[in-house]
Structures are given as structure tokens and as C-alpha cells.
């Protein structure tokens, strides 16, 4: 079964580029990605550009409305994702716990719906 791990973190408190913290985080992500690739668990995964680059699209009454950023006033923003192929939720949770951002942000694990 495939699970999407949505990685949420607070951009305001995120490690800044060119700091040792950022270096450590990147190393963590590289090691994790390498491991799940080797284990054939990884289906896909990418980081996302910051929330400031986001555009929200809605179609209302046949008209396309585009607005800047998501509206939700949440502290944590979606910063990236992995799609993992795991045997059950427990395995997916175990992997999600190893995503470096889990240590300070949060990971939402959602099963991907399957159509026959």
C-alpha cells in the first residue's frame, strides 16, 4: 500500500541556508532518501519551494480565481513530501518518524486511495 508522508514545518523557525543546522538537516534527508531507495520503499519525494511561492486556484461559477498563497493561518506549512510503499500503516509510521523534519515539525501520513 502506498502512503503519502506530508512534511510540515514552521518556515519561520526552519534552519537557515549556509548554517551548520541546515547542513545537518540536509545530510539527514540525504541519508534517509538513500536508505528508502535501497529498500525499494521510496516511490517519489520532493521538497517544495517556500509557501511565498504558492498560488491557490479555485473555480467558482465557471471562473478561475487565483490567489496568493494558501489562506489557512497555520503555523506549519507543507514543505515537501514522500510517497512510500509500505506493507501497513505501522511500517509507514516507522519511516515517517525517521524523516528529519519529524524532530521539530510534523509528518502527516495518509494512505493513497487505490482504484481498481
Amino acid at each position: 500500500m502506498k502512503y503519502m508522508c506530508l512534511i510540515y514545518g514552521d518556515e519561520a523557525n526552519h534552519p537557515q541556508p549556509n548554517t551548520p543546522e541546515m547542513g545537518q538537516l540536509m545530510e539527514g534527508y540525504m541519508a534517509f532518501t538513500k536508505d528508502i531507495r535501497e529498500k525499494n520503499v521510496m516511490v517519489a519525494g520532493d521538497p517544495l519551494e517556500p509557501i511565498a511561492t504558492a498560488t491557490t486556484v479555485r473555480v467558482r461559477g465557471g471562473r478561475t480565481e487565483t490567489t496568493d498563497g494558501p489562506f489557512a493561518e497555520t503555523k506549519e506549512q507543507l514543505g515537501g513530501y514522500y510517497i512510500l510503499d509500505c506493507k501497513d500503516l505501522d511500517e509507514a509510521i516507522a519511516y515517517a518518524a525517521r524523516i528529519p523534519t519529524a524532530a521539530f515539525g510534523s509528518i502527516e501520513v495518509r494512505p493513497i486511495m487505490v482504484f481498481d
Binding site: M1, K87, D88, L89, D90, I93, P111, V114, F115, D116
Partner: protein, 414 residues
């Protein structure tokens, strides 16, 4: 061999009902789906009620029900256009064939898996105990709702949501691995204790539904102990609940008046239950893995000394509460510690401990104010005692406890 009479059918059905939880657990573990297992089993029971009176009771009613339920499950998953289900169907079909070949209809006891599923960290915490009561004990949602003081519709929805999550997110039906066991076992035991607490709060025993829940919690703890004989805390929880249950007949007078522990007639305590509690606590202690339930049971065992004419050793109780406050500083433990300190070192020491408790946690907790009232009264601080008792009374739902507190308040020496 049966005469096909309706009575025989019902008798066999009753016998099969006794193994309800084993049947549900086995089917759910095979299908990875609790809701479907329950539906299939209830269809099987219905089919049994329809056919047994005419055709006679099968030799092995349990095996018959299992086969019928499996058949139904296979049908159901055939209809479900979800690819993932195909695997489960195949598994079921293979097992069905294997079952027919087997002479004895023996099937493994998967109830432990079911308990762990119900207490899975991915399941809504408010749904865990109700889920256990429904799936492991077969108690209907309406009754569970009344025990948890929520509407049957809300409880039904909570249970449906939890079961859908088990199926759709595919929560593992494996017994957790060794390193996960402590956390998961804690959740199982907490849920059992929550069920007991719900039953215990109904001190009056007027609501038979809620009193029943205490019995069921004890049943679940016995099951946990049977399935996990090495789990010290499971034995500890069983001991704790048995000590409390043993005192139930003494908690009210015949007229229904509330009796605090210190004034209970120990002759009304159920001795065999206390003996069993002692044995359970000894089994737990032999494992050398101390936990909160063992500590709480040990505190109860000190109170049980009164049964043999012994004095209560308050110093031991304080020491046990100290350990409990360190390991699991629940508001109840901190208040118990303050009350024990008051017995050992005087009311002032007890009050100091009580006042060290965070007011945010104590504000609407009735026992805090009842103990505070009693301690202030002993210290001749009558104004403060009155205020504390009034607060406690305001927070009490139980009529008999309210009457008891009113009497305490009116008999303060002024």
C-alpha cells in the same frame, strides 16, 4: 448430534457466543478489517438462528459459525472493488481450504492482536476503550455510549470512524514488535483502566450498565494477563482492580449512604477477591519491573491490611505515593499522596503537599477540594474548610457523596 429443537439451537448459540471475541479476533486478523469481521459474524449468527432449529445443531457450532462468517467475508470482499482486498480474499480462500482439511476446527487466539489494534496510537484515543468493549467483549454501541455519557449516535460514529481507519489506512494486525511493546501495552492497559474508572465512578451502583463495565474491565485484564503472562503491569492492573472491586459491597450502607474507605466495615469486603489480588500483585512483583499499576495496587494492599486486623502503615503508603508521583504524576496520585502525608505527618504537611499541586489541574477536580476541606477543618481553618467543601459539593454529581460532604461540612467543630 442434536434434536433440532429450538432450545438446543439457542443453547448452542449461547455457547458459541461465549467465543464471540475469539471468532471476531480471528476473522478480523485474517481480513485486516474489524468492521467486516463483525458484520460477517453477525450474519453467521443470523444464519445459525434460521437453520439450526430445523436442521439440527452442528457438532461443532463454533467451527460452523467460523466457516459461515468466512464465506460471508469472502463474498463481501469479492464485491468490494478495491484491489487491496483481493489479497485478503485470496488469503481467506486458502485458509478456508486448509480449514476444511483440518480435522479439528482449532483456530489461534488472536484476541491479543485485537486488543493491540484497538489501542493503536493511530486510533482516536477516545475511541480505544469503546472499540475494545465492542469488538473484544461484543457490547453494543448503545450501552457503551451510556457508559461513556455520550449520545449513541456520537459513539456509533466514533466506532465506525475507528474501524474505517483500521481498514483504509491498513493498521497492522501484528502483535507489536518487542521494542514497541511497552508503549502499546500501556495504551491497552490504560484503556482497560479507563473502562474500570467509568464503572467505578458510579459508586451508587444504581446504573447497572455502568456497574457492568467494571466487571468487563476486570475480564479484559484477566485476558491481558492470560495472553501476556510476562507483562508485570498487566498483573498489577488486575491486582489494583480486584482490590477495589473487593470493597464494593462496603462502599454504601444499606440505606445507600456513602462510606469513605476509612469508615468501611471490612467484614463486608470480599476476601477471595483480595486473596486473588494479592496473588496477582506477587506475580507482578516477581518480574522486577515496577510500574504505576503495581504501585497503585500496592497502596491498595496496604489498606487491605485492615482485614487481618493490622494497622495501616502510612509511612509505606507515603513511600509508595512518592514513587507513583515520580513515575506517573496524575492529579489523583498527587492528591492521594497529600492525603497519606496528612495521616503520617499531620494535616499541615498534607495541606502543603496539596497546595503544591498546579491549580490549573486541580480547579475542577472534586477530590482535591474534598481533601482540602477535610485538612483545613483539622487545622481549625473553618472559613477555608467551608469554602473548599462548598466547591467539592458543587463538583459532585453523586447524590450520596454530596450528602456525605454536606454532613462533613456541618459537623466542623467551630
Amino acid at each position: 448430534m442434536a434434536d433440532g429443537g429450538e432450545d438446543a439451537g439457542r443453547a448452542a448459540l449461547l455457547a458459541a457466543r461465549a467465543s464471540y471475541s475469539r471468532l471476531v479476533a480471528y476473522l478480523a486478523a485474517a481480513a485486516g478489517d474489524v468492521a467486516a469481521a463483525e458484520d460477517a459474524l453477525s450474519d453467521a449468527f443470523r444464519a445459525a438462528l434460521e437453520t439450526w432449529p430445523d436442521r439440527g445443531v452442528p457438532d461443532k457450532p463454533e467451527a460452523w459459525l467460523l466457516a459461515a462468517a468466512r464465506h460471508r467475508l469472502t463474498d463481501m470482499s469479492r464485491h468490494r472493488a478495491v484491489q487491496a482486498q483481493a489479497a485478503a480474499t485470496l488469503r481467506l480462500l486458502t485458509e478456508e481450504a486448509a480449514d476444511r482439511a483440518a480435522v479439528a476446527p482449532a483456530f489461534p487466539d488472536e484476541r491479543l492482536k485485537l486488543l493491540f489494534i484497538c489501542a493503536h496510537p493511530a486510533i482516536d484515543i477516545a475511541a480505544r476503550t469503546p472499540l475494545m468493549l465492542q469488538t473484544v467483549l461484543g457490547i453494543d454501541a448503545g450501552r457503551i455510549a451510556s457508559a461513556f455519557l455520550v449520545s449513541p449516535a456520537a459513539m456509533g460514529q466514533r466506532l465506525v470512524r475507528a474501524k474505517a481507519k483500521i481498514r483504509d489506512a491498513r493498521i497492522s494486525f501484528d502483535v507489536p514488535e518487542y521494542h514497541q511493546l511497552p508503549e502499546r501495552l500501556d495504551a491497552v492497559l490504560d484503556a482497560i483502566y479507563a473502562a474500570y474508572g467509568t464503572g467505578w465512578d458510579d459508586t451508587a451502583g444504581t446504573d447497572s450498565r455502568r456497574r457492568g463495565l467494571a466487571d468487563e474491565a476486570v475480564w479484559l485484564a484477566r485476558l491481558a494477563v492470560e495472553l501476556l503472562p510476562d507483562a508485570a503491569e498487566a498483573h498489577g492492573l488486575l491486582a489494583l482492580m480486584l482490590y477495589c472491586e473487593a470493597r464494593r459491597p462496603a462502599r454504601r450502607t444499606e440505606a445507600g449512604a456513602y462510606m469513605p474507605l476509612s469508615e468501611q466495615d471490612v467484614q463486608l469486603w470480599r476476601r477471595p477477591m483480595i486473596e486473588e489480588a494479592k496473588r496477582a500483585l506477587a506475580t507482578a512483583a516477581a518480574q522486577h519491573r515496577l510500574g504505576r499499576f503495581q504501585l497503585e495496587a500496592a497502596i491498595q494492599s496496604q489498606h487491605a491490611m485492615r482485614l487481618t486486623g493490622g494497622d495501616i502503615n502510612w509511612a509505606s503508603i507515603v513511600a509508595l505515593y512518592d514513587a507513583l508521583a515520580e513515575m506517573s504524576p496524575t492529579i489523583g496520585a498527587l492528591i492521594g499522596r497529600a492525603a497519606a502525608l496528612a495521616e503520617e505527618r499531620g494535616a499541615a504537611a498534607g495541606l502543603a503537599a496539596l497546595e503544591a499541586i498546579d491549580m490549573d489541574r486541580a480547579r475542577s477536580y472534586q477530590p482535591y477540594w474534598a481533601v482540602r476541606g477535610a485538612l483545613l477543618a483539622r487545622l481549625d481553618r473553618t472559613d477555608g474548610a467551608d469554602a473548599a467543601y462548598e466547591r467539592a459539593i458543587g463538583l459532585t454529581e453523586d447524590r450520596a457523596v454530596r450528602a456525605f460532604l454536606l454532613t462533613k461540612m456541618s459537623t466542623i467543630e467551630r
